[in-house]
Subunit: 197 residues, 2 copies
Amino acid sequence: MADLSTSDRPGTRERILDTTAELFRRYGYTGTGLKQIVALANAPFGSIYHFFPGGKEQLGAEVIHRSGRMYEELLTAIVDAAPDLESGLRDCFLGAAAVLVETDYADACPIETVALEVASANETLRLATAEVFASWIRAAVARFTGSGVPAEHAEDLALSVVALLEGAFVLARAAKDVQPLRAAGEAAVALLERARA
Amino acid sequence: MADLSTSDRPGTRERILDTTAELFRRYGYTGTGLKQIVALANAPFGSIYHFFPGGKEQLGAEVIHRSGRMYEELLTAIVDAAPDLESGLRDCFLGAAAVLVETDYADACPIETVALEVASANETLRLATAEVFASWIRAAVARFTGSGVPAEHAEDLALSVVALLEGAFVLARAAKDVQPLRAAGEAAVALLERARA
């Protein structure tokens, strides 16, 4: 039974990362406390500094990168499951809307709140968020060029589509209404069709 | 000289509001402390509770509404100064990019960071941000329908354009790069042209 204790390494570290990711998504970086993390992760307080000697900043950077990778994988899987890129793009926005409704408008982009909080306050974490967004943009550019969007338009299209998603999250969470995500999804599809034409 | 003291009513109250607005824009709600506000506003600590008996939440709600009105007036003035709505729309995004560069990517949307922080944490402030965004959407809908966009498309267009601006702010601040705002501005113009056609 000792293997199931809260101090078994992979388990505790993973729980801290998962819990921190959820708290960041809902309340942001500043609004997430280490005591809150260990309480919700059912981990001893010292385990944070054991696994993340750099404390909240190191934990934050790791959560930003990890959440960014997981969200990219999720969106990629949604696009892969669709019959074409337009449908896949629309499904990303509608899937995001469904998650918002299921979570009472709590779970949107995993790094957006943190990105805005740290942009002018913590250079290490700003760079972490910039790297995640850059990875998403690269992935979108690859999809768009692969589907016939001319290379010279692919990056601006990717920036606009990710901006539509991130901006729609802000409006949807504030209003507790999914229409911003529906509208932004249709706008993203229209921009893709235009870039291909 | 007594009229110029830091406790003269309009002056101190205005300075507290201005300072709080700037701190919210840069660091968000949670990252802004009352001590920091009074220090930067050159105001006695008690003045916050004198002018805002409800404390940080009341001050926050007032700053959200006031910043929202001021930003709406700014964007309206930019659109009014342009020869046509397409140019006006583009100028809003390029003007926002110029302010970002001037402020080392600190000053973007006045309520975006706060909106995300409070969405799942403070219902009073969430409603304040929702009212501001709704007012912007209404103003954009009026402009769009006035310029020939069919009524049934105007709201989705307004949601998409505001989402493009808000999302581009996130990407631009994270990357310290204005290209997301340029790309989003051109996307907004393209969506407007499409909705009018």
